[in-house]
């Protein structure tokens, strides 16, 4: 067997092992039961006292949302302030300038919403202060926000009728102290011992063996990279993200980083089952997500490992696969695996340049973000999936002529309206944004010539990818796009805000409404949602809503390009 494929099996296999125990642990922690990390409880009490928060107060779904949105607003103002002033703040040994207001707006939103779209390059566009106090900070707290919102939904699906859905601050703080900080520390330690820098002295000026003068950017990278992957944020310390040989120095760090980003989204699915004491339910969810992920993974690995037919035509040896935009130490297979895991999970870090991937791989990456529910981001991936479950329950209820109910709660018009709005918002933002950009470009190709790095179908794909990535809060890019302009900064900024908060507000509201309803015990007439049949149903609902809506756009971009190449 090809050893690169063997490498994939090893990475994928280990990926499937740890989330199960971690999910059980998460359920224990969020329930407030005894766990081996209870030695952290005094620290948490100290944090709550310092913040003046009563972590035991039960909150309604509205109170949860107010708390969540208020603290997010505070973070936004803090981040935009840091980016606008970074040039004059301390910890700037490379003397990088402050961001322009539109770029600061885009960057602050991007990290606030866990998207991490980057219209700047880490080496020249950010300082150590902003990398740490704005970016690393947001990478921790936004991941914890997603996890806390997810637990609120878990609470609502418990048996019985209730108004109170736990305490937001409690879930938020515990997500950081009990999960994110310890695991991020472990990952960061692997990185520094493998050669990732964690220093404060600025660039190193060297003269190479051939006699060229070069400045080598460094910085406090290891700490940031660990949480960038673990929190499914994805924004790189350096411009080339995890393709950069200091950000991701070895095959081992590549496997560890890839593992870290998959860990929590998968664990949340198992946590859901343990939390509700319905483990079969989480196997159903896990099955649907994994099948979806593998369907996108297989063609991508195939096409990347087989190389570019246009280069085969020139006559070069492509045994290593399509090497444009890839690093030798990872190879084509691990790069393809990374590309897909980072797009089905809304992490969006890259270890090879997606813009240079084969058209079908680019399409699979786009589809990963368009569905956005095959694992999805920390916490929010599950929320997206939850919306599709509501829709699937409703449709199956109608098909068999029963009142649609989910776990003993009736699904009625109000919940359905919210679910459908959230589900349709995603294609609307992506397609409208792409259409407007394409219209602008087509109307004045000379003025906007700087936008596209590639002509024809691929240029269209670059614009489509940018909006898809923004709406999926993914943050990867077809980076050939010249995106640091007011149009791209502001339009994608707005898309990112809408695409983050509505898909959190919607499911939490549905959950709150369901929690209040009368609980109907299971009977022979109940539609069981923890079966393979229902899993198939959800799978097709996702494909029909999320994938088919995008078919025309995909036909104009990657599909058209594929047929010109092959």
């Amino acid at each position: 067997m090809n050893k690169e494929l063997l490498g994939l099996l090893v990475i994928f296999g280990s990926t499937m092992l740890l989330p199960l125990p971690l999910g059980r642990y998460l359920a224990t922690v969020y329930r407030g039961n005894k766990s081996w990390t209870d030695f952290l409880a005094p620290l948490e009490r100290l944090l709550f006292r310092a913040a003046g928060i009563d972590a035991n107060r039960g909150m309604t779904w509205q109170q949860h949302l107010v708390a969540l949105l208020t603290i997010n607003l505070a973070w936004f103002l803090w981040a935009i302030l840091v980016f606008c002033l970074q040039g004059s703040l301390p910890l700037n040994p490379d003397h990088n300038p402050s961001m322009t207001p539109d770029q600061a707006f885009n960057t602050a939103i991007s990290f606030l919403v866990n998207c991490n779209l980057q219209h700047y390059s880490g080496e020249s566009g950010a300082t150590y202060f902003s990398q740490l106090f704005a970016i690393t900070f947001l990478q921790f707290v936004t991941a914890a926000t997603g996890m806390a919102a997810c637990v609120v939904v878990f609470n609502a699906l418990k048996e019985g009728t209730t108004e109170k859905l736990g305490n937001f601050y409690n879930y938020f703080v515990k997500s950081i102290t009990r999960v994110l900080l310890p695991i991020a520390t472990a990952v960061a330690l692997v990185l520094v011992f493998q050669g990732t820098p964690m220093n404060w002295g600025g660039k190193a000026s060297i003269v190479t063996m051939q006699g060229d003068s070069v400045s080598v950017s460094r910085g406090p990278a290891a700490a940031m990279i660990a949480i960038k992957e673990l929190g499914t944020n994805g924004g790189g310390f350096f411009g080339a993200n995890s393709a950069h040989p200091l950000e991701n120095p070895t095959y081992l760090t590549n496997a560890v980083e890839n593992f870290a980003l998959v860990l929590i989204p998968l664990a949340m699915v198992f946590a859901f089952g343990y939390y509700l004491k319905r483990p079969k339910l989480s196997y159903m969810v896990m099955g649907v997500m994994t099948v979806g992920c593998l369907m996108l993974l297989a063609p991508t690995v195939y096409y990347e490992m087989h190389g570019n037919p246009a280069i085969a035509h020139i006559g070069a040896d492509q045994r290593l696969g399509a090497m444009e935009g890839k690093e030798v130490r990872f190879g084509a297979a691990a790069s393809a695996y990374w590309g897909i895991t980072n797009t089905v999970i809304s992490c969006g870090s890259v270890n090879s340049m997606h813009d240079s991937h084969m058209p079908i791989s680019g399409m699979a990456e786009l589809l990963g973000m368009m569905t956005n529910a095959f694992y999805g981001g920390v916490g929010v991936g599950f929320l997206n999936f939850f919306v599709f479950v509501i829709i699937a329950v409703f449709i199956s209820g109608l098909m068999v002529g029963r009142t649609p109910e989910l776990l003993g709660k009736k699904i009625e018009a109000r919940e359905m309206k919210i679910a459908v709005i959230v589900a349709l918002l995603h294609p609307l933002l992506i397609l409208a944004g792409t259409a407007m950009s394409a219209h602008l470009y087509a109307g004045n190709p000379t003025e906007y010539a700087g936008w596209l790095a590639n002509p024809g179908y691929h240029g269209f794909s670059e614009m489509l990818y940018e909006f898809t990535s923004s709406a999926a809060n993914n943050g990867s890019g077809f980076e050939g796009l010249g995106d640091n302009t007011p149009w791209w900064n502001i339009s994608t900024g707005l898309v990112m805000i809408l695409a983050r908060y509505l898909p959190i507000i919607g499911p939490v509201a549905i959950a709150g409404l369901l929690a209040r309803k009368k609980f109907i015990p299971e009977s022979a007439g109940t539609l069981r949602v923890d079966t393979a049949t229902f899993g198939v149903m959800v799978f097709f609902v996702i494909w029909i809503i999320a994938a088919l809506a995008f078919f025309p756009a995909l036909a104009l971009g990657p599909l058209a390009e594929h047929f010109t190449l092959y």
């Binding site: 090893v10 928060i53 220093n199 084969m358």
Partner: protein, 186 residues
């Protein structure tokens, strides 16, 4: 609003201390024990730092093993890939030109023996490696330029090859060229 805003601000401050103060301090302290002390692993020759083990640098002279093409010409403070799409005609012409140049500089080599990484740009523009085939195909040229026996240079490449049971084998170009200089006592 005030009852919401005040705890939010105080919690933000608390988290800044925890995630941006204590956590990076811990990692920085641990880095002091790591190879390179968290500064990046530097490589010296005759007492002068000539590069970082993990950061690729430009080698384009015939007497050195050449590194991969780079979209940023190996400027290690501006990493980036080319971001060229696979069907871009301008890009494909550039790849063809790189291949022709390589064949010209390495007479006797056939196009089918040139691994693609030698004519395509890496993702970071700073790829420190080549595949073993990418180094071996340059052996005749390097040996000629250095007036060395090709078998000795081939043996050098084999000695510098790092194997990986799960991913591609690779050769660190900087370390290979250092070993090459050492071989001729330069």
């Amino acid at each position: 609003m005030k009852t919401q805003l005040l705890p939010a601000l105080r919690l933000t401050l608390v988290m800044l201390v925890l995630c941006c103060g204590l956590y990076p301090a811990l990692i920085t302290a641990a880095a002091q024990l790591a190879p390179g002390h968290g500064e990046g692993e530097q490589i010296s020759k005759n007492g002068r730092v000539v590069g970082f083990a993990n950061v690729g640098q430009k080698f384009d002279k015939p007497e050195y093993f050449n590194s991969r093409p780079s979209a940023v010409d190996y400027h290690a403070d501006a990493s980036a890939g080319s971001n060229k799409g696979p069907s871009n005609p301008e890009y494909l012409a550039a790849v063809k030109a790189r291949l022709d140049t390589f064949l010209l500089e390495n007479p006797g080599v056939r196009a089918a023996d040139v691994p693609a990484e030698l004519i395509t740009a890496s993702g970071s523009g700073l790829d420190p490696h080549l595949s073993p085939a990418g180094a071996l195909v340059q052996v005749p040229r390097v040996a000629r330029a250095r007036r060395l026996d090709a078998a000795r240079v081939t043996a050098l490449v084999r000695a510098q090859t790092e194997t990986n049971p799960l991913g591609p084998d690779r050769v660190n170009v900087l370390k290979l060229n250092l070993a090459l200089d050492a071989l001729v006592g330069n």
